[in-house]
């Protein structure tokens, strides 16, 4: 096939066919289009304001490395006025996390951003390796996800930031939509396509790469020669998400726009009123103060299960109720320290409302 010229600048040689649009574009146009689309995602959703301190959830993997690079580029180019930080969570997975953290430390040097690393061990007293040896490889991802979510909030609170950004890309979100449909998880289905999530007691969390294809993120990193760590978590082959991912990749091969289309479908979902009524309302965990759908947040529930030697008994709400029916938990179990939002993010008192 003859060499093709870029559809946008009609000048340089095309090096990429965009899955989103089918356009064939050159390297420089690709960089510009990719970065500008993220910029548009950020401005249209009005994610940030001047002076915001923003923590970038950084794992050393492809998405977070590119995210750090792009956030820095856009912050400089468009003068967002943000203070950027790198926040890393060490789950304690030997041979996986310890290597990827080295990449984050290199990123810290390259992008000149302060770095905070928080580990499961210091926060919960359990590494993922220890958890897997207790729980096995079916429910272990539940523990990891729940613990990491809290860990990110806590790390962000320590850094005193206003906002957390993560590198979730379009593929991830489309997979999540499919997973939630496959598992009948209505509550999550209604929430999972939001670009910015915020509870009363949690720090704002956004996904600037929501519409960025994984393929483009990898190509961006390749052509910009960005250094990232690329190995599968050793426990992921057994994760449920794998089914959704394989399915999604096949869908993408047949029709590349499927990924964005699934996200648009997800955004259009509206939960029926009578179903909404059965959903639980948000409360605060009575043990650690984090947000929760029940009296005890999921992380405290899971930790209690681990400490009592009954981790698999607490993974689902149903099994938790059965466990509770057997009697109260013993005293003196290790608990997660009390969670407090930075003062500036705490909900204001009603009496402080002023007219302005």
């Amino acid at each position: 096939m003859p060499p093709r010229t870029c559809a946008l600048c009609s000048d340089a040689r095309a090096i990429l066919k965009r899955p989103k649009t089918g356009q064939q574009i050159c390297k420089e146009c690709f960089f510009y289009v990719f970065e500008t689309e993220v910029h548009n995602t950020i401005t249209e959703a009005q994610l940030f304001k001047r002076g915001d301190r923003v923590a970038i959830g950084a794992s050393g993997g492809k998405d977070s490395t590119v995210l750090a690079h792009v956030m820095k580029t856009l912050n400089d180019r468009y003068d967002y006025g943000l203070e950027l930080f790198l926040l890393s969570i060490d789950e304690g997975i030997t041979g996986y996390r310890d290597d990827s953290l080295e990449t984050v430390k290199r990123n810290q040097q390259q992008y000149a951003m302060p770095l905070k690393i928080l580990s499961y061990d210091e926060l919960y007293g359990w590494t993922m390796d220890a958890i897997v040896s207790q729980v096995g490889k079916k429910n272990n991802c539940t523990f990891c996800g729940v613990f990491r979510r809290q860990a990110l909030d806590r790390g962000a609170a320590i850094l005193n930031v206003d906002h957390i950004v993560t590198g979730h890309n379009a593929d991830d979100i489309a997979e999540t939509v499919l997973m939630n449909i496959m598992r009948g998880d209505i509550a999550r289905l209604g929430r999972c396509t939001s670009i910015c999530t915020q509870g009363e007691d949690t720090i704002k969390r956004s996904k600037p790469f929501k519409y960025a294809y994984e393929k483009e993120i990898v190509m961006y990193a390749y052509f910009k020669k960005l250094d990232y760590f690329s190995t599968e978590c050793i426990y992921s082959p057994d994760a449920y998400r794998g089914h959704a991912r394989v399915f999604l990749k096949d869908l993408e091969a047949a029709r590349p726009s499927a990924i964005i289309d699934i996200i648009h479908s997800g955004e259009a979902f509206e939960v029926k009123e009578d179903v909404k009524a059965t959903q639980k309302i948000q409360q605060t965990c009575k043990r650690c103060g984090y947000m929760s759908s029940n009296e005890l947040c999921k992380a405290c529930t899971l930790l209690e299960g681990l400490e009592r030697g009954l981790p698999n008994a607490v993974v689902t709400d149903r099994s938790r109720k059965r466990l509770d029916a057997q009697g109260p938990a013993p005293e003196n179990l290790r608990q997660i320290p009390l969670f407090k939002l930075p003062v500036k993010l705490q909900p204001k008192m009603a009496s402080a409302k002023t007219t302005s």
Partner: protein, 120 residues
């Protein structure tokens, strides 16, 4: 029969399947059997009268699987082509621009395989 010298690069974790080596130099014949069924590569190659075609990328993928891949072929090849989620670059350009598997290889070509199938 002439041969083609190619530079192959693996990234995104794929190198683990290929002796943990990112860069490889390979030489394949310029003309290859037209029908490359997944299991029958070497048998057909021995038949000098079999119809041939210029070596293309689809052939290269099977050649790599049979000659360079050390383990877990299913992580590289699926349903007759590269596993979905693995990006292929030909001389630093998306293989989708060059006809994917049908691209005819030239001497000195550089082919890069990058896996996207890992955490971000």
């Amino acid at each position: 029969m002439s041969s083609l010298s190619l530079k192959i690069e693996f990234g995104g974790g794929l190198e683990l399947l290929f002796s943990n080596q990112r860069s490889h130099r390979v030489t394949i014949s310029a003309h290859v059997p037209t029908s490359t069924s997944e299991a029958g590569l070497t048998a057909k190659e021995r038949d000098a009268d079999a119809p041939t075609k210029p070596a293309d990328l689809a052939y290269l993928v099977f050649w790599l699987r049979d000659n360079l891949l050390k383990e877990r072929a299913e992580l590289f090849v699926e349903s007759g082509t590269v596993r979905p989620g693995i990006l292929v670059l030909i001389n630093d350009a998306d293989w989708e621009l060059e006809g994917e598997g049908e691209y005819e290889l030239k001497n000195g070509d550089e082919i890069v395989f990058i896996s996207t199938l890992h955490g971000g």
